[in-house]
């Protein structure tokens, strides 16, 4: 508005002649039918309704997004804990198996040659056969 006040007469000093303005107005004439404007209004309102729904939808997703973040952190923690427990359980199971093998089999394995060594030549083959059959 300020430059209109500074140069009040200049903008219309070189104004186009009325016939030219009429031609311009004709070229840029908007649709006249009321039905057209009603239709445009309906299209605009349909789009704003969708935008409204999308915004509400976006809010839902943003809430879920927050939950998802917390869920991801919790899942990662549970996964790490489960991994650690699993590793620890496997280690103790291996240790248990190892120890039970040592405790149960070693005396027998070690006792067999003792028996075999202690037996006389003839009965040594019998003792080997008995040992193999017993296992």
């Amino acid at each position: 508005m300020t430059d209109e006040l500074k140069f009040p007469e200049r903008s219309n000093r070189d104004a186009l002649a009325e016939p030219l303005v009429r031609l311009l107005r004709d070229a840029y004439a908007p649709p006249g039918a009321e039905a057209y404007w009603h239709g445009l209004e309906q299209r605009i309102l349909a789009r704003t309704s969708v935008a409204n729904f999308a915004t509400a939808d976006g809010q839902w997703w943003s809430v879920l997004g927050g939950w998802a973040q917390a869920g991801l952190v919790a899942a990662a923690a549970i996964f790490a804990l489960a991994g650690a427990l699993n590793q620890r359980f496997n280690a103790s199971e291996s240790q248990f198996v190892y120890e039970s093998v040592l405790q149960q089999n070693t005396p027998e394995v070690l006792s067999a040659p003792t028996d075999l060594l202690a037996a006389p030549e003839g009965s040594r083959s019998d003792a080997t056969l008995i040992y193999v059959l017993s296992h």
Binding site: A17, L20, L23, D26, A27, A29, A51
Partner: protein, 182 residues
């Protein structure tokens, strides 16, 4: 234009209600302003279908930005700036329209059928010769009566540039259509 005392009571009530989330009130604003918004968009994009797209985009953007609208101000100028931005975005995406396309666009189906077809053709040719922005300025000023400052705000240029564009556009049209002057 933005003087709060001059804003019609109906428009202010609708703007406040729309801002509070009343979709029907927004429909009222659409009814009040869609014609003017169309003219703003058409001045920028020229083609009717593009103007319609820009008007729809503009109203959707305005709807989404209602919480930033100050209801003490007039809704129309605020909306027109948003619609003009939507039209400028569209014009940028469309890049350069061919002269032929502009020609068809200016042979508007909404014209007065009594007008001479040759005159319209001459005018379309002359308008197609103008730079895009100068065409927008002359239409906004000489047909819609916007001030240089308002045009500057809508097109993102200083008011003085709008004034100078208008002057050059008028000069060029006058030369191109000198034999049509009454």
């Amino acid at each position: 234009m933005n003087d709060p005392a001059r804003i019609p009571h109906e428009e202010r009530a609708l703007a406040e209600a729309a801002r509070a989330g009343d979709h029907d009130a927004f429909a009222g604003l659409v009814r009040l302003h869609q014609r003017r918004a169309y003219l703003v968009a058409r001045a920028i994009v020229t083609v009717h279908e593009d103007a319609e797209d820009a008007v729809q985009d503009g109203f959707v953007r305005a709807y989404q930005a209602l919480d930033r609208f100050d209801p003490r101000q007039a809704f129309g100028p605020w909306l027109n700036r948003i619609v003009a931005n939507a039209a400028l975005d569209l014009a940028r995406r469309r890049k350069v329209r061919s002269t032929e396309e502009l020609h068809d666009a200016l042979q508007s189906p909404f014209r007065d059928p009594g007008e001479d077809a040759e005159l319209r053709t001459r005018l379309a040719d002359a308008l197609a010769e103008l730079p895009e922005r100068a065409r927008s300025v002359i239409v906004m000023h000489d047909l819609e009566g916007f001030t240089h400052v308002e045009i500057g705000e809508m097109l993102g240029i200083p008011g003085g540039t709008a004034r100078s564009d208008l002057h050059h556009a008028r000069q060029k049209l006058r030369v191109l259509l000198k034999d049509l002057r009454g």
